[in-house]
């Protein structure tokens, strides 16, 4: 059960003076791996698995980055690269979207940050099922390999758009529709979901069962709350994509008609009949909308912690922040059809889904208020993690507000399927979460490697990425307002599109190349700093949460040495009046009476 007061304790006295028996989980020698293979390759250590997940996700993410360059090349300078035909453009577009949403963002937030931070932040030695955790990564790896294989398959990868809408996805007019492309895509998704389910169950059970003594749910850092809630959502949402993928695979390979009505393709009657294309869309978005929040909630949680640590101030309204995460997670399951306002579904659905969609804006706005109110009367250190957190708020607020256009059913009608939508979702679920990922890497890299990332390269990376991304996606909304549809490899001669749109498109493309280059600098920085970075020490940011209190940095296998930590306070005791320094670690029993309860009454 959720313990609603941050003061709530589990056998730990309020004032923290009485001795508490430590660790129930002893550190046994047999438990540690001894060979290179079990230590670094088939590792069961969540921290190693986290790095494997992150490395793979960033690797495949680089493919998506190159694909975005190729698309921007075509949109900004149509016809310059003559290998970009409509076929290849649609293939680049589809793979870019699918990689970014599923194989990069989901994998990096949950598989990467989830694995690294959950056990450390809740004070556990590891995930509760380390072997299953290892399997989770390797199945994810297999899913990525199958995805990559589709680039080399005859006919190339699928070009159905990341939404994979049937009937188009499995017909001949779409690249990869009747060749191997769509089959490999669906198989890869099925594998990904199997792998994710193994990891996801681990994260949930570890948060519920593996917490250190005194770590009540309402003392957990918001990072853990965000990842935990997102994982629960993913475990509920991904099965919808799983069944949709299996059914479409049957339609494609066995000739079933789950999503296929009677069709005439290029003058030829096909043998399909009786299926419903809209049913696929419902299944897809029943997964797809929660997916937005599966990416957003970990970002919400992490950014809350970044702001709090670097503003030296407790997060404002912690309890409200936790409840907002939970409420957003729950509401996100009843808003999916706002992606389908012009799909041809029953028009009355519009009333319901517009209402739920705009209601979700309230808890989301509350989170934004609490982030900026945390800055109020803080002691703001403009470190790189803080800069990225501030940039996140700008882009997230911008992208969230354009969501109010698209969520409000009738306003969506003219904007739907235009570049306005592309600009909106890139701002809100592309740029914003990725800025958090950067902030988080600058923040936790010292714990992972023991060294700081290079500041100069970091500053360059920050300014180019933040301002560049804003310059790419803010004007793109106006391309959509003009009426330019999305998913057009070239606009050609279109009466209502002025020539100036081509100039704007060229500007956006050039900016995108520059921003992409800055990411290469960032990757270089990550590699360079492993050897040449400044020594970080155990707790360079003077943070309260448990991962900064480990006996070694980087933390060894088992995390805590002989005794597990005991938690005496919430995660946000910064600048507590009367305390000797401006933070009190969660496992610091503290002098009697020095630390007041985090929440009055």
């Amino acid at each position: 059960m959720v313990d609603v007061t941050p003061d709530g304790t589990r056998g730990v006295p309020q004032d923290g003076t009485t001795a508490v028996p430590p660790a129930e989980v002893a550190d046994a020698e047999l438990y540690h791996p001894h060979s290179y293979w079990t230590k670094y390759i088939f590792s069961q250590d969540a921290k190693v698995i986290a790095i494997q997940y992150s490395g793979t996700a960033i690797g495949i993410g680089l493919v998506a980055l190159v694909l975005s360059w190729l698309m921007r090349m075509q949109l900004g300078f149509p016809g310059v690269l003559d290998f970009i035909t409509p076929e290849t453009y649609y293939q680049f577009m589809t793979m870019h979207g699918m990689i970014m949403v599923v194989y990069l963002l989901t994998a990096l937030f949950l598989g990467g940050f989830g694995n690294y931070l959950i056990p450390l932040m809740v004070g556990a030695r590891d995930m509760v099922f380390p072997y299953v955790n290892m399997l989770s990564y390797w199945i994810y790896m297999l899913a990525v390999l199958v995805l990559v294989a589709s680039f080399f398959a005859p006919g190339g990868p699928t070009g159905a758009g990341w939404t994979l809408y049937p009937p188009q996805a499995i017909l001949g007019g779409t690249p990869g529709g009747t060749s191997a492309g769509i089959v490999l895509m669906l198989v890869s998704l099925i594998l990904f979901i199997i792998g994710f389910t193994m990891g996801g169950l681990n994260y949930v059970v570890t948060v519920l069962q593996g917490r250190a003594r005194g770590m009540t749910l309402m003392r957990m850092p918001l990072t853990v709350w965000g990842i935990f809630t997102a994982t629960v959502m993913a475990l509920l949402a991904f099965p919808a994509l799983f069944v949709a993928s299996v059914m479409m695979l049957f339609d494609r390979l066995l000739g079933t008609s789950f999503f296929m009505p009677a069709l005439v393709e290029m003058g030829e009657q096909l043998s399909y009949g009786g299926g419903s294309p809209i049913m696929f869309q419902h299944l897809f978005w029943f997964f797809g909308h929660p997916e937005v929040y599966i990416v957003a909630l970990p970002a919400f949680g992490i950014v809350s912690d970044l702001i709090s640590v670097h503003a030296r101030k407790n997060i404002f309204g912690y309890r409200m922040m936790v409840w907002a995460i939970v409420i957003i997670g729950a509401l996100s399951f009843v808003v999916w059809a706002h992606h389908m306002y012009v799909s041809g579904m029953h028009p009355y659905f519009g009333f319901f889904f517009a209402t739920t969609t705009l209601i979700i804006a309230v808890p989301t706005a509350l989170k934004v208020y609490n982030w900026v109110l945390t800055l109020w009367r803080g002691d703001i250190h403009l470190t790189l993690p803080m800069l990225f957190a501030l940039a996140f708020i700008v882009t997230f607020v911008n992208g969230g507000l354009t969501g109010l256009f698209l969520g409000n059913v009738v306003v969506d009608v003219p904007l739907s399927d235009t570049m306005f939508v592309v600009a909106h979702f890139h701002m809100v679920m592309g740029v914003a979460p990725i800025l958090v990922i950067f902030g988080a890497i600058y923040h936790w890299y010292p714990k992972i490697t023991g060294r700081m990332l290079n500041e100069a390269m970091g500053q360059f990376h920050f300014w180019v990425t933040f301002l560049g991304a804003y310059l790419i996606f803010f004007p793109m909304h106006y391309v959509g307002l003009v009426g330019v549809p999305r998913r057009y490899p070239e606009l050609g001669e279109t009466v209502f599109i002025p020539d100036s749109v081509a100039t704007l498109n060229a500007f956006i493309s050039v900016t995108a190349f520059v921003v992409g280059f800055a990411q290469i600098v960032f990757l270089f920085n990550m590699i360079w700093s492993i050897r040449h970075g400044r020594d970080a020490g155990g707790n360079p940011w003077r943070a309260t949460t448990l991962e900064w209190q480990t006996p070694q940095t980087p933390p060894a296998h088992g995390n805590w040495g002989k005794d597990l930590p005991v938690v005496y306070r919430w995660a946000y005791d910064y600048s507590v009046p009367g305390a000797p320094q401006d933070f009190i670690a969660q496992n610091d029993p503290g002098p009697r009476g020095a630390a007041p309860g985090p929440v009055p009454a």
Binding site: G173, P277, F316, L390, V397, N398, V411, Y470
Partner: protein, 275 residues
Amino acid sequence: MAIALVLVAVVAGSVLFHIFSPWWWTPIASNWSYIDDTLTITFWITGAVFAAVVLFMAYCVLRFRHREGITADYEPENKRLELRLTLATAVGVAAMLAPGLYVWSQFITVPAEATEVEVFAQQWQWSYRLPGEDGRLGTSESRLVSFENPLGVDPDDPAGQDDVIVEADDLHLPLDRPVKMLLRSIDVLHNFYVPEFRAKMDMVPGMVTYFWFTPTRTGEFEVLCAELCGVGHGFMRGIVMIDTEQDYQAWLQEQSTFAELSAPTQVGLAEPANP
């Protein structure tokens, strides 16, 4: 320091871009100016919120940036403030949702006097069917689609015989008369999109979808497909002409009915069926 200035510049730049942008929606040619109005309200509300939040952040960064000897306040929560902000947000959201839902109810309520026009989509062209003298469209079915019967009109339905068939050609519509566009596809998803009309809807094989509008301006408008439909998606274009009543009737007289098109070709007919 720099970040505070940049945050202010982001707000100022965004507002200036919005005001001076040459990129704005096309002049409207339908009755849906309410949609434009709701969009404008949304721009004002969201723009104000964006400016307020980012400027507040800029102020905080400037005012509360780290200085030696200053510690942050310790204030875990403030229930009253959080409640007030929640209520204010709820009011703002309602101010956008209420007109939105009101206009949506109009959008989905087709006036009784609207004429039905069928839009027929296939990879990658547009065709149309208009009711004939009887004012009714005959039934149709994808299974009936063939080279001779490209729109799959039921030959046994008497209501379909006088239907006017416009195959892969421009559609003409009369000015100021509400029209219900019945949308049919026989292969994949498509979407009938004319930016000046503001309305659009997906076309789904196996069902008939619709939207309605009243043309308010004569002229030639470009039709685009707005739902990814395969490699020809970007080239699936068409033309809708909005005519005065007179021009419309003149155009209509030149079109052929289903019965004319499906009659066996006769040599030496006084008037060719399809000039």
